[in-house]
Symmetry: C2
Subunit: 221 residues, 2 copies
């Protein structure tokens, strides 16, 4: 049986899934970290993702050591990870991640990168292999479905890649961790959505201490 295609992101109450972009090199360089734009980026990103960092699952998955919070947020983060048999991402997300992820990248499954760049598969310790797909989003998804087997395919990001899949009706369902923060500017999750073609149905909403988890199914209309 084929799995589902989903995305799962954190979003500010005003609809942003990331702060205004800053050059990624800056974020991960010691000089960059004194740049006020980088500091603002880090501040907003930290507020958006505040529900994730304390989790036991997050610490485990990034090998940050023992401990961490259990409970509903942790269960949801773990379940999202465990249902995922393969991920798809855009080139910009990969480029940023290549600088940010530890050597032991946090996917532990095949990851298909939609890109115009040709590159041999890149295998990381711990089971993550990045495959670079040059013939479009459907080809990348088909390869991910094959790789995922019975498990689901996660469209990992960024926003533009998620919207490409959503607009052509290839997303079955999605979840949003709606953070109680306002960004005012940044990268909007639903920027460029073709509202005339996407219908949603609510599945559930659950509020935890730090965030509200919303789940929807999507279909063409």
């Amino acid at each position: 049986m084929a799995g589902k295609v989903f995305f799962s992101v954190s979003m500010s109450l005003d609809g942003f899934m990331a702060p205004e972009p800053v050059p990624v090199e800056n974020v991960f360089s010691p000089e960059g970290q004194n740049d006020p734009r980088v500091q603002l980026w880090m501040k907003k990103w930290s507020e958006l993702q505040a529900w994730v960092f304390p989790l036991r699952f997050f610490r485990e998955n990034l090998k940050l050591g023992e401990g961490g919070e259990e409970g509903l947020d942790n269960d949801i983060a773990r379940a999202t990870y465990e249902r995922t048999g393969a991920s798809v991402m855009g080139k910009r997300m990969f480029d940023a991640g290549e600088l940010a992820w530890p050597e032991n990248a946090p996917f532990h499954t095949p990851v298909f990168v939609v890109t115009h760049t040709t590159r041999e598969p890149w295998e990381r310790p711990g089971g993550t292999t990045f495959h670079f797909v040059n013939d479009g989003i459907e080809a990348a998804l088909n390869q991910a479905r094959q790789a995922a087997g019975n498990r689901d395919v996660r469209i990992a990001g960024g926003a533009e890649t998620i919207l490409q899949y959503l607009n052509v009706g290839l997303i079955d369902e999605f979840s949003i961790a709606l953070a109680p923060v306002l960004f005012g500017s940044g990268i909007r999750l639903f920027e460029g959505v073709d509202a005339s073609r996407v219908a949603l149905e609510q599945v559930r909403a659950v509020t935890t201490q730090r965030v509200t988890h919303l789940t929807y199914t999507a279909r063409k209309r």
Copy 2:
């Protein structure tokens, strides 16, 4: 004891509280209703407000006759109405409402309209009196507080007026009926928010059949 200052609106999942504006005269004229822009406006507005129309409270309040749905949506709509001792609104919302509301306007309390236009108070049957305030949002709120007594003041809209109050720290709490629809364009609720000055705290989220009710408190930061 003074009441609270709140707003309560419906919002699409991508952050819009109204479709792209069309000339209000068109919406309420027979010719206008054949205009495709007006038709799209009505379609989107209907989807956004779909949770309200079937309610017993809605029918009662607009004197549309007996019947209507009871349950959580109805309880929430009724409670929002009952807590409100006075409303504040912007001039554009008033102008549209002046064309749209029935003679027996649906507020049944004093309403303070923030405007540069001077006009005598306009009393409607059923207890709604519109007062036109020419000296700014704080003056309008002070008059509304006086009029509301122990009850709360609702900042009724539109988005721009709500944001003016939110940005200067005059909103205590708010609720959003998050509709499972995507608009792609329109009037954003949080457009122009001063994110550096507004901090939120989640109070609760409840999903009903048609919508997710989110409640937050706001404070300066």
